[in-house]
């Protein structure tokens, strides 16, 4: 199935990552640690949602079966979602939320910068819109990592624990498979080795300033791109989709 339309698969992956991360961040709305951060988190969630909508809409067009952004968001089951497991992880404390975003942002920004040169014009255009936002996101999450690492003993310990917990989910960001190989060969997806190098450099620099330890690469979780998720995913979708599934065919 994947091989029949790799551009659809690839675009869907990019969209699913942002849709699910946006959803997790939106859970914070109204519950942030301080009003300014509540606003910033919601902004982040909105930016990701906007990018997800562009990508899912485009994925539907590429697929050519008439599926809309909402069909793709609300009418697929967890085995059909292709996001990485990192973005579906629960919010936890604010250190977990920020570490999850930091690890993602450090990947997302160089990915979007590289996609500016994609041979697929639509993806390049979407990246063009996202680069500005992604730059801001990475700056903000990096600043929080530094504040936590170089803040109080408690914040340092919480940030380190978050990194240690989430590190296993970072390998998946750079995994290769046939879909990606074809897209890279076609000049649509960038060279992921370069994206990984940029990610690794950011992580090292920020963690050094934060006086936090980069966890050792051990077992790396996998499977998200093939629709093999953690148990959290089903609950995310149950919540997200329940209204539309309860009233089939209704318009909102």
């Amino acid at each position: 199935m994947a091989m029949s339309n790799p551009l659809f698969q690839y675009t869907l992956r990019l969209g699913d990552d942002l849709l699910i991360l946006s959803h997790r961040l939106s859970e914070w709305c109204g519950h942030g640690p301080i009003l300014e951060e509540d606003i910033a988190l919601t902004n982040r969630s909105l930016d990701h949602l906007g990018e997800a909508r562009n990508l899912l809409t485009y994925a539907g067009q590429v697929e050519g079966k008439g599926r809309t952004e909402d069909d793709l968001a609300y009418r697929r089951m967890e085995r059909q979602f292709t996001n990485v497991k990192l973005v579906e992880q629960p919010n936890g404390d604010y250190a977990h939320t920020m570490a999850r975003s930091f690890l993602f942002d450090a990947y997302h920004l160089p990915l979007m910068q590289a996609l500016l040169k994609s041979k697929d014009e639509q993806l390049a255009a979407i990246a063009g819109k996202s680069v500005k936002e992604a730059t801001y996101h990475l700056r903000a999450s990096s600043e929080w990592m530094v504040r936590f690492g170089d803040g109080t003993a408690e914040s340092h310990q919480r940030a380190q624990a978050a990194l240690d917990d989430l590190w296993t989910f970072t390998g998946e960001l750079f995994e290769s498979d046939d879909v990606l190989a074809q897209m890279t060969q076609a000049g649509i997806a960038p060279d992921m080795a370069a994206v990984k190098a940029a990610w690794s450099k950011t992580v090292d620099e920020v963690l050094a300033e934060a006086t936090l330890k980069r966890p050792a690469d051990g077992f790396m979780a996998t499977g998200g791109r093939k629709g093999m998720h953690t148990e959290h995913m089903g609950y995310i979708l149950a919540e997200m989709q329940h209204v539309t599934r309860a009233y089939p065919g209704a318009e909102w």
């Binding site: 859970e27 942030g32 301080i34 909105l46 909402d70 803040g151 109080t152 408690e154």
Partner: protein, 314 residues
Amino acid sequence: MTDVKNLEELFQAKIDAEQKIEPKDWMPDEYRKTLVRQISQHAHSEVVGMLPEGNWITRAPSLKRKAILLAKVQDEAGHGLYLYSASETLGTSREKTIDDLLSGKAKYSSIFNYPTLTWADIGAIGWLVDGAAIMNQVMLCRTSYGPYARAMVRICKEESFHQRQGYEIMAVLAQGTPEQKEMAQDALNRWWWPSLMMFGPNDADSPHSQQSMTWKIKRQSNDELRQIFIDRTVQQAEVIGLSVPDPLLKWNEERGHYDFGPIDWDEFWNVVKGNGPCNKERLDARNKAHAEGQWVRDAAVAHAAKRAKRKEAA
């Protein structure tokens, strides 16, 4: 004594001449206290109001609706910020103001102590609750205290967008499937009377109103604003085929207004006193967010201090 009396006369003359009172101007203690109470209640209402609506963000039935709702709840947070800032110009601190909310000492709009049970409630809140709030807020754009009036100008622009999007949600539901229409009507039934209560007690039972009118903090009475709201909203309900849950509602040709049934003020006072369906949940949620955010705020302060120290040493 004569000095204070002169000051009070000058103050009132300024208000009568439609000049704004600014933070550094002399003002009677009671004027200051009234404003601190009103502005901080207003700020708390924005912040607590994020909870019933935020309740549906993760369940919004389309990505477009989700984006709009996120943006709307974010706007409310922004309004809370402007208003906390406006109240700080009167010599209070944001920490103290928020502590008063968390301890239950300060009040916020009772409407947010009602639960959001279905998606249609998000439409009803935008249409009715924001619609009622706008009536007050448009008036407050001309309130006598400068920082409050200026904050309200910004807030009103966003609130009118909120009201329209809420009405649009209801219109789509009302024209949708029978189940959707039922959901919309049920939401209107539940939110109608609490929305009318948002304007506060009848003028005869509102002891502080007269002083607030003289000081031009308020410019229209509770009953006047409530009537304008009813006249406008009844027609909007008719346009989308929903019926207002008041058997006594009737157009009065002579008055040029709708007559309406009695408001259950016992319910109103009961909710104000803390016995609404969600009073405890709302305060618990605010207290939980505040307590769990403590280490985050501490870290930010500690890091800023370290940075400042290093800068000094360098």
